[in-house]
């Protein structure tokens, strides 16, 4: 086999300059994405592209607060993405709960459940701040410090423990089966 380490700088350059975004716009930050993508700020200058399919995405944007219910989907989507993958979180809520600091249904620390490379503080951060965050993550990729995907693999037990504590053991199976009785009933009606 070819020794691909020789080409690693080229790969890093390509990874930095071609971040395909899968955006999890459940929270309030979704509305900051259109100005970023369109002619006002034009993220495509940096080779970034919105992409609906996680299998070919690099950058996972989590915009705004995260509830346990969406966190389950976020974890599943995150695990679908191929390595190397980067996570960027918008706003104060993923950082520490933000205005939902005492809400029963908002995650307080996103980085306990999946590794987050860059968090942009603010409620909500302006598009300029998001651009700054993107520049930051590009720098980190260049330096090799954007290693969330490695941390997730190395500390999988830690993340897994936190997830299981929040959702309970076997939550994927449970969440999937939750609706089955109701789906089956509908089938019988047909």
């Amino acid at each position: 086999m070819v020794d691909w380490r020789l080409f690693e700088p080229l790969f890093e350059f390509a990874r930095r300059k071609s971040l395909w975004i899968v955006a999890f716009c459940t929270g309030c930050g979704g509305i900051e994405m259109p100005p970023l993508m369109t002619s006002r700020y034009d993220l495509e200058r940096f080779g970034m592209m919105p992409n609906p399919a996680p299998r070919m995405a690099d950058l996972f944007l989590i915009t705004g607060y995260v509830t346990p219910k969406t966190l389950k989907r976020i974890i599943i989507t995150y695990e679908l993405q191929p390595d190397p993958k980067y996570v960027m979180a918008h706003g104060s809520c993923p950082l520490n709960g933000g205005v939902y600091w005492d809400a029963y249904n908002a995650i307080k620390h996103l980085d306990k459940y999946i590794p987050v490379d860059v968090i942009i503080a603010g409620c909500m951060p302006r598009p300029e701040a998001v651009m700054d965050g993107i520049n930051k993550i590009m720098e980190m990729i260049e330096k090799g410090t954007a290693d969330g995907w490695k941390r997730y693999k190395e500390n999988y037990e830690y993340y897994r423990k936190n997830q299981d504590e929040l959702f309970g053991e076997g939550w994927r199976e449970k969440e999937a089966r939750r609706w089955i009785p109701w789906l089956m009933d509908r089938k019988k009606e047909e």
């Binding site: 346990p68 600091w101 029963y104 249904n105 620390h109 929040l166 959702f167 609706w179």
Partner: protein
């Protein structure tokens, strides 16, 4: 006045209710809980076509829930609020369902059940999971006596970072 005429007409058909005009295009009725179905039927006949929402207000000191059925009439361009009160104890907070009159009510009733524990009798989907996760099911977190901060601390394991009396919290 148009609104006044509507209220008078409806009150004539439903003498058990009280009603008044709040302001332009906004009317308000108060109905006893057991007559809600009859009253909503009357409203529907008087061309209040849409049910917008069912909201629940938790009057902790009165020991009562106030259910507000938000109705909208496309014909009259008028918003009607139908208020009714039921006891807030979980076993007594029961209402007849109105989904046979307004099919949209099915969803709003599930919503009210999820967050406040009002049980709507006759709605088959009452037990179907709604917004809340399994952990919060049965806690009815929007009730005023729900210990939010204590629950959040237990759930997210962030005991030492909050002060009890909210005046001096650290984030």
């Amino acid at each position: 006045m148009r609104e006044q005429a509507i209220v008078e007409k409806i009150l004539k058909e439903a003498p058990y209710a009280e009603g008044k005009v709040r302001r332009e295009r906004r009317v308000e009725f108060t109905v006893p809980a057991e007559r809600i179905k009859d009253f909503l039927m009357t409203l529907k006949e008087n061309s209040f076509e849409l049910m917008l929402q069912i909201t629940v207000v938790d009057w902790l000191k009165d020991g009562e829930y106030e259910l507000v059925y938000q109705m909208w009439s496309i014909t009259h361009r008028t918003h009607a609020m139908v208020r009714t009160r039921i006891p807030r104890e979980l076993d007594k907070a029961r209402m007849p369902t109105v989904r046979d009159i307004y099919p949209a009510a099915e969803t709003y009733e599930r919503d009210a059940h999820d967050f406040f524990g009002v049980y709507f009798e006759g709605n088959e989907k009452m037990e179907m999971p709604w917004i809340l996760d399994d952990k919060e099911q049965g806690l009815f977190p929007h009730r005023k006596d729900f210990d939010m901060l204590g629950y959040v601390k237990r759930k997210y394991k962030i005991l030492d970072r909050f002060d009890e009396n909210k005046d001096n919290y650290v984030i």
